[in-house]
């Protein structure tokens, strides 16, 4: 019996901790913890929405299940949080529960993925701009070739695409394509999906090297496929990176991509920024002050190449 009382008391203390006055409560329904990117995304929220900053974060890890996220949102509504932030597992099927939040007057902010619902059900969306990432990569390639004095040469390009239909694949292909279209001397020899995986990226790159002996540039729509492609290039007796004969760059810019750049295998990596927390906090502050906010909000994204002090940057990276 004593033990039971002790456990009860302990739980009450835990519960007591969460009754903090005057803090803005934010319920955050996160997808899960499936990747480094996602963990960095979570940490960004946890670091931003702290009591010191005037917030109380109610965090729920949905373990990759939509029904868990729906349940979490219902709990947030009953708990009467001030704001609900959702990084949806899937894009569809949110109408019912968001209507419940809407009826309760709680603003919903989406992070990362979009939801397939009517506009009035959420106040804002925060995420990466994949098209812009692709365009940034295109501009970087322009500059790079210029510096090498190859701006007017014929450049043969191949692309390892992500999983077809994924928003990252669609956006990055489109963005790079926009810059490609401005250069008559750039030739896209082939585009094929490597499904965002290292193994598939390597396989596709092997077949590319086999079919096209004169590849100048490899575009990889995520880092993992680039790692596979680098292995394939080396296995074929070719070289890549800043000192090699094939220019290769990728998207996401996870830590391992920094390692590849430091090792001289990868030319550049274009960031897909997971640090959505500060931007969401900014939106909430505006709403608190009664200001209006833009519906679509892209986070700032940058890029890294081998001309930078990569060791120093890597040390500051969250993922």
């Amino acid at each position: 019996m004593k033990k039971v009382v002790a456990v009860l008391l302990a739980l009450m203390m835990v519960a007591g901790m969460v009754y903090a006055e005057d803090l803005i409560t934010v319920g955050y329904a996160q997808v899960g913890a499936e990747s480094d990117w996602r963990m960095a995304n979570t940490k960004s929220f946890q670091d931003t929405f702290t009591p010191e900053n005037g917030y109380q974060l109610i965090f729920d890890d949905a373990q990759q299940k939509q029904e868990n996220q729906i349940r979490a949102i219902r709990n947030f509504i009953q708990r009467e949080v001030d704001y609900i932030v959702v990084a949806p597992v899937v894009e569809t099927g949110w109408e019912t529960v968001l209507q419940e939040a809407y009826d309760a007057g709680i603003p919903v902010i989406l992070s990362d993925r979009m939801m397939d619902v009517s506009d009035e059900l959420y106040v804002a969306w925060v995420g990466g701009n994949f098209v812009k990432e692709g365009e940034t990569a295109g501009h970087w390639l322009e500059d790079y070739l210029e510096k090498q004095g190859r701006a007017d040469e014929d450049i043969n390009i191949v692309t390892l695409q992500g999983t077809i239909g994924a928003s990252a694949q669609v956006g990055r292909t489109e963005g790079f394509g926009n810059i490609l279209a401005q250069h008559d001397n750039w030739h896209m020899l082939a585009m094929q999906t490597g499904e965002f995986t290292q193994a598939k990226g390597q396989e596709v790159m092997e077949s590319f090297l086999h079919s096209y002996p004169d590849i100048d540039v490899v575009v990889c729509e995520n880092d993992n496929m680039a790692f596979g492609a680098i292995d394939a290039i080396k296995a074929a007796g070719r070289t890549c990176g800043p000192d090699g004969d094939i220019i290769i760059f990728s998207f996401d810019a996870v830590r391992a991509a920094f390692d590849a750049m430091i090792a001289g295998d990868l030319n550049a990596a274009f960031e897909c920024n997971p640090l959505h927390g500060p931007r969401v906090a900014e939106i909430i502050q505006k709403l608190e002050n009664g200001e209006s906010v833009d519906k679509i909000q892209y986070v700032d994204e940058t890029y890294f190449d081998t001309t930078m002090d990569l060791e120093a940057i890597k040390a500051t990276r969250a993922y």
Partner: protein, 342 residues
């Protein structure tokens, strides 16, 4: 014979009472600890039902199968298949909502017939049969489509969003919005199925046969029960309930996606076991399984509400509860054996 029967019933009701007490204890605990977070609101309880309507129905089917001494681990995959079929038929094939629902129900029965036939008439281990069923259903879901399909069918979404409001117990929230407690039609369907199943199992000769077959094949043979047919029917009912559960699940999520309802079968089995159903067969009660589902839901809410605990604790709490109930069952079981010997 008579004495043994009585004892079994006692054991059954004892486990049920433990489950019900546990549920209320947990719920009241939540109401006290999270009183400032509105845990005591009627809507929080209703949300338990709204979130778990599909699981309630599927746990009913699972309970019947487990009473006959079998198991059905195909249910989660079949729920995903049902959702995908509904989404695909309504969005891509232009089938009406009513027809789509009927087709899913028929598919559920056919699915149950096949599994039941293999288990009952070909004497294949239920675990193996339903394991195959699980892979088949998940595979078929991916074959139909690997995309997420949103259901926008007007009739179907109007069912999904139709709120049945209670005329009492309304509250004004912090933002000054008046909210009447509400449920969705899914809850009503789940409760109707629960009550019907309870009545059949408790009061009909048809329902008592499941207990007889699961309790002792020998004596049910002597009683003149067609064991194979009884087993067969259990899987057919489970298949049918799965289809209903799938439709309820789909009404909650309004989408078809291959990853949906993963591990749902384990939730259903856990709920049944927490509710006092024996894996060895012969003992079980859908009311217990219903409370099993509510306990699972309450644990989730308790852990989700404060927002400081990782949601993975839900699994650990359920594991602890399962262990507790299994030990309780085996203690009771050994007592029964002793009593029978004496």
């Amino acid at each position: 014979m008579n004495l043994l029967g009585k004892k079994k019933l006692n054991q059954n009701s004892f486990l049920l009472i433990v489950t019900i007490i546990l549920f209320f204890a947990m719920y009241i605990f939540g109401c006290i600890v999270f009183r400032d977070l509105n845990f005591g609101r009627f809507q929080v309880f209703l949300n338990l039902m709204i979130n778990n309507a599909a699981l309630i129905v599927i746990a009913c089917g699972m309970t019947i199968v487990m009473i006959t001494g079998g198991i059905d681990i195909s249910v989660g995959s079949f729920v995903a298949l049902s959702c995908m079929m509904l989404a695909n038929m309504m969005e891509n094939q232009g089938v009406g909502a009513v027809q789509a629902v009927l087709i899913v129900l028929v598919t559920g029965v056919v699915f149950g017939i096949v599994q039941g036939f293999l288990v009952a008439y070909l004497n294949i281990q239920p675990f193996i049969v339903t394991l195959a069923g699980m892979f088949f259903a998940r595979g078929m879901t991916a074959i139909i489509s690997r995309d997420m399909i949103a259901i926008k069918n007007e009739l179907f979404t109007s069912w999904a969003q139709f709120r049945i409001r209670f005329p009492f117990g309304g509250y004004v929230n912090r933002r000054g919005k008046v909210i009447d407690p509400y449920i969705y039609p899914t809850v009503v369907i789940a409760l109707v199925i629960l009550v019907i199943t309870f009545i059949i199992l408790r009061y009909s000769r048809f329902g008592r046969r499941f207990y007889a077959v699961g309790g002792s094949e020998q004596s049910s043979l002597l009683m003149g029960i067609n064991i194979r047919r009884t087993r067969f029917i259990a899987y057919v009912i489970s298949g049918f309930y799965c289809a209903i559960g799938g439709i309820l699940f789909c009404l909650n999520t309004c989408s078809g996606f291959v990853e949906q309802a993963k591990g749902f079968e384990m939730d259903a089995i856990a709920s049944a076991v927490i509710g006092g159903t024996l894996l060895t067969g012969g003992v079980g009660n859908v009311i217990g399984s219903f409370f099993g589902v509510l306990i699972k839901g309450t644990i989730e809410t308790l852990i989700n509400f404060p927002g400081v605990l990782s949601s993975w604790w839900v699994r650990i709490a359920i594991a602890a509860l399962l262990a507790f109930f299994i030990i309780l069952q085996s203690v009771l079981g050994s007592k029964k054996e002793k009593g029978a010997r004496a």
